[in-house]
């Protein structure tokens, strides 16, 4: 007996039993039958044909006059059957796309991977979580032989795949900068030229570039319209904004960036972030900057990486575990 014959017999059995007693068991068996028919890709119009054949075979003579009505039902169900099959094939395509994006996301992780520098006087923590599979945020550390630690944090306006593709370009431009120590303002100026020439005019990138001199403990920085970071003053136990003016990357190729500097004492903390951190949205609106500061203060006694992880957990919870934007947070703490 072929598979279809088996299904047919089963259906007829259910139908016969229900016609006799109208009990719930037959209905439950029908439900199971329908799951099985979906599993074996039996289309709606085939089910109707099955039903009609079964009725005819059961010899329900009183049904004679009703039988032609099944032709109408069958015809009406044809389009549903087609829609169903189309849905099946679209689902397969969606699966393929999804796994392709997963591969791309893994590639991106490898591509954008960066080592957190190991320096005696600093403790550095960093975390970057994409809102979707691929991230439009980027951060990178460079350590040079003279004892400077450079940090770049960038955010493409927008998210998802277009932002991710754009980010990869930033990474390559960073890699092609000349070796050796680079002044933050000059780094931004040279990246700005690359972005202006190569990126779609509707796509903008914000970036913060900082260089921590481990000999003088001065933090030199410049910003291209990036979300302002915070500086935690250990002595007075309070925050101040890391203020830096500058135009976004990719708007005007002649843009000049101003460089700023800040002396860092033992216990002080530099906090850098993408707007996914400050623009965390909850049901009640944006997360206040003060809330963020409270969280950081709450965990300030912990190690840098732990602070980052804890703050992320808190904000994730606040947002009901649904990130609306890529999230990147970096903490640099002077420990001696």
């Amino acid at each position: 007996m072929g598979f279809r014959d088996v299904m047919y017999e089963k259906y007829k059995e259910i139908l016969e039993s229900y016609m006799k007693d109208q009990d719930e068991k037959a209905l439950y068996l029908s439900q199971k039958f329908s799951r099985k028919s979906i599993e074996y890709k039996i289309s709606p119009e085939e089910i109707i044909s099955l039903h009609r054949t079964a009725l005819a075979e059961m010899g329900a003579e009183s049904l004679g006059s009703v039988m032609p009505s099944f032709d109408i039902l069958l015809e009406v169900m044809m389009s549903y059957g087609l829609a169903y099959r189309e849905h099946q094939s679209l689902r397969t395509i969606q699966q393929e796309l999804k796994s392709e994006i997963e591969v791309a996301a893994n590639m991106q992780q490898t591509l954008l991977g960066t080592q957190i520098p190991d320096v005696d006087c600093l403790e550095i923590g960093a975390l970057s979580v994409p809102a979707r599979q691929m991230s439009g945020d980027y951060y990178h550390f460079v350590q040079d032989e003279q004892g400077a630690v450079s940090v770049a944090i960038a955010d493409v306006i927008g998210k998802g795949i277009p932002a991710a593709l754009c980010m990869s370009m930033i990474k390559y431009s960073m890699d092609s900068l000349p070796e050796g120590r680079q002044e933050p303002s000059l780094v931004l100026e040279s990246l700005n030229r690359v972005v202006e020439q190569n990126v779609d005019p509707t796509m903008f990138i914000t970036m913060f570039y900082g260089m921590y001199d481990t000999n003088s403990h001065v933090f030199h920085y410049a910003s291209a319209g990036h979300e302002p970071g915070f500086f935690y003053n250990h002595e007075i136990e309070d925050f101040e904004e890391i203020y830096a003016r500058g135009l976004l990357l990719g708007i005007d190729k002649k843009t000049k960036y101003r460089q700023y500097e800040k002396k860092v004492e033992v216990g002080d903390i530099i906090l850098l972030m993408s707007d996914g951190v400050t623009e965390c949205r909850t049901k009640d609106g944006f997360v206040e900057v003060d809330t963020l500061k409270e969280y950081i203060k709450k965990y300030i006694h912990l190690g840098a990486q732990e602070i980052v992880n804890k703050v992320y957990k808190e904000l994730e919870y606040l947002q009901d575990f649904q990130l609306r934007d890529d999230f990147t947070l970096i903490i640099i703490k002077r420990i001696k």
């Binding site: 119009e45 044909s49 389009s79 099959r85 395509i93």
Partner: protein, 131 residues
């Protein structure tokens, strides 16, 4: 028996369906396959009616390697299709409520061939084999 139907107005679609159903029944197709064949004919005839000035649908019997099949040929001198890949894509026509579209027709039959040149028209040949 005349095996072609000229499609000029909407009722010609019904005539094309009737022709297809008669041939399908005579060849021994079951009710579900008859419905599939007529739905495919409907779609093709409707495309002629909606998008081409004139055209016709022909139904033929075919035999190959001991198998018997029904061939639907739809030919028109309409505007033609410039992007075949796009119209053969799932979700392209259905999303606009235009019906099953050509991917739907392709699913209903066993073989599907299409030729189309912008400005010249479209020729579609679809075969359903008797199982």
């Amino acid at each position: 028996m005349d095996s072609c139907v000229k499609i000029i107005n909407e009722w010609d679609i019904v005539a094309a369906r009737q022709l297809g159903r008669n041939v399908a029944r005579d060849l021994g197709f079951g009710t579900v396959d008859q419905a599939r064949i007529t739905t495919a004919i409907s779609e093709l005839a409707r495309n002629i009616y909606l998008y081409a000035e004139q055209g016709e649908v022909c139904i033929e019997k075919t035999e190959s390697g001991g198998k018997i099949g029904l061939v639907i040929i739809s030919e028109d001198q309409g505007p033609g299709i410039s992007d075949l890949r796009k119209v053969m894509e799932d979700g392209f026509s259905t999303s606009g409520g235009l019906g099953a579209g050509l991917p739907g027709v392709k699913r209903l039959v066993d073989e599907f061939h299409i030729e189309s040149n912008p400005g010249e028209g479209t020729l579609i040949k679809a075969i359903k084999w008797l199982r």
